[in-house]
């Protein structure tokens, strides 16, 4: 009942605060869209040069939105000069693909589309060899980038909004007033988790659906798992936000947690490759919730793994949330001995 009172109040407050609602729901979409423009700008007009192509094959390739140029005598130099995305040579029993790869994301898309188009011919088993003009097949880090980005935005915005909301409650004195009623500290924390959890849930659904269906972010695994992971991420952000707000005395101080708590998580969570880093340094990532979130999201969206393979990551995330929730409950002792 008391928890319900807090939940109702949070909903009433949020409904009146249109700007915060807009920040929560549309800012992540805006940033995600901008990022997808930056990393996928070439996707719309991929150009493929074909040597010795058969008309049915060319038709198929055109069907998957590739711009096809037929040319029998072509060279890597010409490919560089013309800035085409790839060159496909069909030979006896083998197919040779040369990718310009000046933009790893468009190379990835090209390979994906090619394999789609070539699939029915697989009984003929043409072996596809791929060469890269620039870089190699491992250059495409951005594909593992986007699933993590979704998790990151869920984390960031939920963290910020809960942290500041609870901070406002502290600075305005209403938290103290609340604790002068017979409410239990755990009830306050539960009310907060549910109230803001509701908005975090809506936000997560919007971000995930937008990312997958509008921005076409790679996803091979189950969308339900993606939602489940992101909800757990939101819960961690909720509890961490409310915990840290007790160490801030103003909104500005809450903002100061961004470079301290949020930015390091971006670096260590695997959004950027960590392979060259010393092993002990890599281990730091294991202390950060986003590391596990990124692992799980990457697993489901990029590699298509199932629940059992991300269960450990989810368990670690949930443990983070539980620890933060308990600590938050303790931190409220500052306002009432009991």
């Amino acid at each position: 009942m008391r928890i319900g009172a807090i939940v109702t109040r949070i909903i009433q407050q949020m409904r009146r605060d249109r700007r915060t609602l807009a920040l929560l729901f549309f800012a992540p979409l805006l940033v995600l869209t901008l990022m997808s423009f930056i990393f996928n700008s070439n996707e719309a007009n991929l150009t493929l040069v074909i040597s010795n192509g058969t008309p049915p094959l060319i038709e198929k390739l055109q069907a998957v939105d590739l711009h096809i140029i037929e040319q029998q005598n072509f060279s890597v130099e010409q490919l560089k000069e013309q800035q085409y995305d790839g060159w496909l040579i069909l030979g006896q029993g083998n197919v040779r693909l040369t990718l310009l790869n000046n933009d790893p994301s468009s190379s990835k898309v090209l390979i994906m589309k090619l394999s789609q188009a070539l699939q029915p011919q697989q009984d003929a088993a043409p072996s596809l060899t791929t060469d890269y003009v620039y870089g190699d097949k491992d250059t495409a880090i951005f594909d593992i980038f986007s699933p993590m980005l979704i998790g990151f935005f869920v984390f960031f915005f939920v963290f910020l909004i809960t942290g500041i909301a609870l901070l406002k409650e502290r600075t305005s004195g209403t938290l103290e007033r609340l604790l002068a009623t017979p409410i239990k500290r755990a009830e306050i924390v539960a009310g907060y988790m549910l109230g803001y959890g509701l908005f975090a849930f809506l936000q997560t659904v919007i971000i995930v659906l937008f990312g997958i269906y509008v921005l076409d972010i790679v996803h091979v695994g189950s969308i339900w798992l993606v939602l489940l992971i992101n909800m757990t991420v939101a819960l961690v952000a909720l509890s961490l936000g409310s915990l840290l707000s007790s160490f801030a005395s103003s909104e500005f101080q809450m903002m100061q947690f961004i470079p301290l708590i949020i930015v390091p998580q971006i670096f260590f969570s695997g959004i950027f490759p960590l392979d060259n880093m010393a092993t002990w340094l890599q281990k730091i990532g294991h202390l950060m919730p986003l590391y596990y979130a990124a692992n799980a999201l990457n697993g489901v969206m990029y590699k298509g793994v199932t629940f059992s393979e991300i269960a450990t990551n989810l368990a670690v995330l949930a443990s983070f949330a539980i620890v933060f929730i308990i600590l938050t409950t303790f931190s409220l002792k500052k306002y009432r001995v009991l």
């Binding site: 319900g4 109040r9 407050q13 605060d17 209403t174 007033r177 002068a180 009623t181 001995v337």
Partner: protein
């Protein structure tokens, strides 16, 4: 002990090695209106927060309504009004009242009744649908008072309840406090600066630098210090301690 609503025994409190409340003992009898007087920084609010269980005394025991502080259940028997208006500005007056009523676990029928009663008492009935952000200082003070009265508690602890309230309403609120005391036998502890309010209390406690410098009925204090008003009583009483 039974006839005391609040009793403090050798209670002491320091912040950062600075003594805010010197060891003091104090008994507040049930059914009385007790005024706590003193300049700002004298420890009034600290004392009140310790009685509420929000601060832990360094030494000594506190009992309220025969329960040892801190006690969760005790809080449903105390109507508390903080010095600063702790209200949700983006909610309306009614939503604020309903929110707090729910925290006291009032049933839905009780809630509607008590919200109407409390709002009527502080003359806010016509402004209940307005967001608190648009309230004047006095209206916010009145809403805070209404919240303290919501759950019909036997003990009221009010930290400067009439600051920023116009004289007419102030008079009405004091009439209501007297009525609550006389008819409902409520115990009321009020901190105040206003001398005309001090006169209405059954018992006056004067606090200075964490020490109780005077504790008696208003009339007895005036006679004892041969003073015209309570400012004079305060100065004369304080002079002895320093």
């Amino acid at each position: 002990m039974k006839h005391y609503a609040i009793s403090l025994d050798n209670v002491e409190k320091s912040f950062h090695h600075k003594q805010v409340i010197a060891p003091l003992s104090l008994n507040i009898p049930t059914g009385q209106l007790v005024g706590l007087l003193g300049p700002s920084g004298c420890g009034k609010t600290t004392l009140i927060k310790m009685i509420m269980g929000m601060l832990k005394p360094d030494n000594g025991q506190i009992q309220a309504l025969n329960l040892a502080v801190p006690h969760q259940q005790l809080l449903s028997s105390i109507g508390y009004m903080a010095q600063s208006d702790a209200l949700y500005l983006d909610l309306t007056g009614e939503e604020n009242l309903n929110f707090f009523a729910k925290l006291y676990n009032l049933s839905k029928r009780e809630r509607t009744q008590r919200v109407v009663y409390a709002a009527q008492l502080v003359r806010l009935k016509d402004d209940l649908h307005i967001k608190v952000a648009n309230y004047s200082g006095g209206m916010k003070r009145r809403l805070s008072l209404a919240i303290a009265l919501l759950h019909n508690p036997p003990l009221l602890i009010l930290d400067e309840p009439t600051v920023g309230i116009d004289p007419v309403l102030k008079k009405e609120i004091w009439q209501e406090l007297m009525r609550l005391k006389n008819e409902d036998q409520k115990t009321i502890l009020v901190t105040t600066h206003a001398m005309d309010e001090a006169q209405k209390c059954d018992q006056l406690i004067m606090l200075r630098n964490g020490y109780i410098i005077a504790n008696d009925t208003p009339q007895a204090l005036k006679t004892q210090y041969d003073a015209q008003d309570f400012d004079e009583v305060f100065l004369k009483a304080g002079g002895e301690v320093l």
